[in-house]
């Protein structure tokens, strides 16, 4: 038996979050206070003079960087999702060259550091193919990188559909396309949403690594401002806020889609 006072800290099983009521507010407030306390305590212990004026002068630079990160992320999100879906199908394919190519791609990309991939792709492969545009190259590398993870997420989603369902589908005379369209996809989509959203959020943050080939995105601009003004925390704290502004809508959208695609079973 749970004691009565404990009930304000528990949520009813099976519900996303308790509906707005005093206990929701109480818990949210407690968490906010706790986090606030840690930050205030830590910053008060810090021997550091904040000079926001110097960084404020570079606000246009921050915004330009944020804009570039948005553009890079937008295209990478689309391309990586397409690549991921393509290679997930490859991993389920019965055509062996396609299957092996997909496996090989996933293993190579997942097993090597993104940093090395960026350097090799830009200075060796793109150079050999005479692609000089570092922004296009950046989107391609990021998409290839995230695509491998997304491919595995989708494959795991497809594998999670029980064999009996597929057998039933086949016995009903559904074609392979119909199986994917009506049986697998609607269930898979809901199951892969949380890891997919996580992967897309990572992709946005990983775009900061493109700064090593001087793609002028958010992180590089913040680092440059730091180099001009020598105010590290003043340059990097806006960076954290900026990334959160881009990534939070994705988490939020994924939550909403999850709810929209939940079927009673």
């Amino acid at each position: 038996m749970t004691k009565k006072w404990m009930r304000c800290f528990l949520r009813e099983s099976g519900r996303e979050a308790p509906s707005p009521c005093p206990s929701t507010l109480l818990n949210a407030l407690l968490v906010a206070l706790f986090i606030l306390f840690i930050f205030i305590f830590s910053f008060s212990r810090l021997e550091y003079d904040f000079h926001w004026a110097g960084v404020w002068a570079y606000r246009a630079k921050f915004l330009r960087g944020l804009g570039m990160t948005l553009v890079l992320s937008f295209f990478s999100l689309i391309v990586s999702f397409l690549l991921g879906s393509f290679f997930a199908l490859g991993q389920k394919s019965r055509f062996l060259p396609f299957y092996f190519f997909s496996r090989f791609y996933v293993e190579i990309i997942r097993g090597t550091p993104l940093l090395v991939q960026i350097l090799v792709f830009f200075y060796v492969i793109a150079d050999a193919f005479r692609v000089q545009n570092r922004y296009v190259t950046g989107v391609v590398i990021l998409s290839l990188f995230a695509g491998a993870y997304i491919s595995e997420i989708i494959r795991a989603g497809i594998d999670s559909i029980g064999e009996t369902q597929l057998e039933t589908a086949r016995s009903l005379g559904l074609t392979r396309f119909q199986q994917y369209r009506f049986i697998i996809f609607p269930q898979v989509f809901k199951r892969i949403l949380p890891p997919l959203a996580g992967q897309l959020v990572s992709l946005i943050k990983d775009s900061s690594l493109l700064s090593i080939i001087s793609v002028s995105e958010f992180t590089l601009n913040a680092q440059e401002v730091n180099a001009y003004t020598y105010s590290t925390l003043e340059s990097y704290l806006p960076l954290a806020v900026g990334y959160l502004l881009i990534t939070y809508p994705i988490s939020n959208l994924s939550k909403r889609l999850e709810r929209a695609f939940s079927y009673e079973t």
Binding site: L46, E47, Y48, D49, L119, Y123, D127, Q132, S211, I212, I213, S214, S216, L220, Q223, E224, N226, A227, Y228, Y230, T232, L233
Partner: protein, 265 residues
């Protein structure tokens, strides 16, 4: 039982926090980026070595304090100093107006000037050619080359990199017209890539760049001691010994080319 475990973990974590502090009070924490041979580098066993490292140990002997070398990336040095992680920067750092606003510099102990590593087919013949549309300049983040380019070549495109090696690669692959850095590094990289690059070593700045050790603004006691050390080190011929030990070949080459040698206080 659960409560006991949680209580135990809580107490342990408190002890852990209490235990975290500086070990020895007397240690002189010296920061430098070990990526600028022969001034700051690592020997074959991975230990810090080079002219600045030897100077740090001499300074420690002079002050009768043990020395600890911290390898920190160049644009993180001043922030580390300001937050008290290190006590002094000895990293071939040029004394500039901007940096002097955040830290105090010792008297200069060496001087240097900027030079250009130019891509073989680039139309750039002299430094004045750089300030025009279509020119691309590679710089290392936070260095005086970066700051100089930003101030003097507003029409050119400036690509910012973390590593010196990436800047050289950009020039070798004709992605950039030139790389602006100090004369010694430019000279060495030109020697390494004679078929794809050329060097413009003739000084183009109005003034030499002077190198100093940097300290926190409120650390006046250390400031006084460091200046006293530099004075006595110079009198004892310490700088000449270091030049003889590390820069013998370079000095001879520069004398042959008739270019003024830079390492002298």
């Amino acid at each position: 039982m659960k409560e006991k475990i949680i209580g135990f973990l809580f107490v342990m974590s408190l002890l852990l926090f209490a235990g975290c502090g500086h070990g020895e009070k007397n240690v002189l924490n010296v920061g430098m980026e070990l990526a600028y041979p022969p001034f700051e580098m690592t020997d074959k066993e991975g230990r810090p070595a080079g002219i600045s490292v030897d100077m740090a140990h001499e300074l420690g002997k002079f002050l009768n304090r043990p020395v600890k070398i911290w390898n920190i990336s160049f644009d993180g040095l001043i922030p580390s100093l300001k937050t008290g992680k290190i006590d002094v920067i000895i990293s071939s750092m040029t004394i500039t107006e901007e940096r002097s606003q955040s830290v105090t510099f010792s008297n200069p102990y060496s001087k240097a000037y900027l030079a250009l590593l130019v891509s073989k087919d680039s139309p750039v013949e002299k430094v004045e050619d750089l300030n025009s549309k279509g020119r691309v300049i590679a710089v290392k983040k936070g260095t005086t080359g970066h700051l100089y380019a930003r101030e003097h070549f507003p029409l050119a495109r400036i690509n910012v990199f973390d590593k010196e090696s990436a800047c050289v690669l950009e020039v070798v692959q004709k992605k950039a017209d030139c790389f602006i850095y100090d004369q010694m590094t430019i000279f060495t990289n030109w020697q390494k890539n004679p078929d794809t690059t050329r060097a413009i070593l003739k000084p183009f700045q109005k003034d030499f760049e002077y190198w100093g050790m940097a300290m926190r603004k409120d650390d006046t006691e250390l400031h006084r001691q460091v200046n006293a050390f530099l004075e006595s080190f110079k009198e004892n011929g310490g700088f000449d010994r270091l030049a003889e030990k590390y820069l013998k070949d370079e000095k001879e080459t520069f004398d042959e080319l008739g270019i003024p040698f830079f390492f002298s206080p």
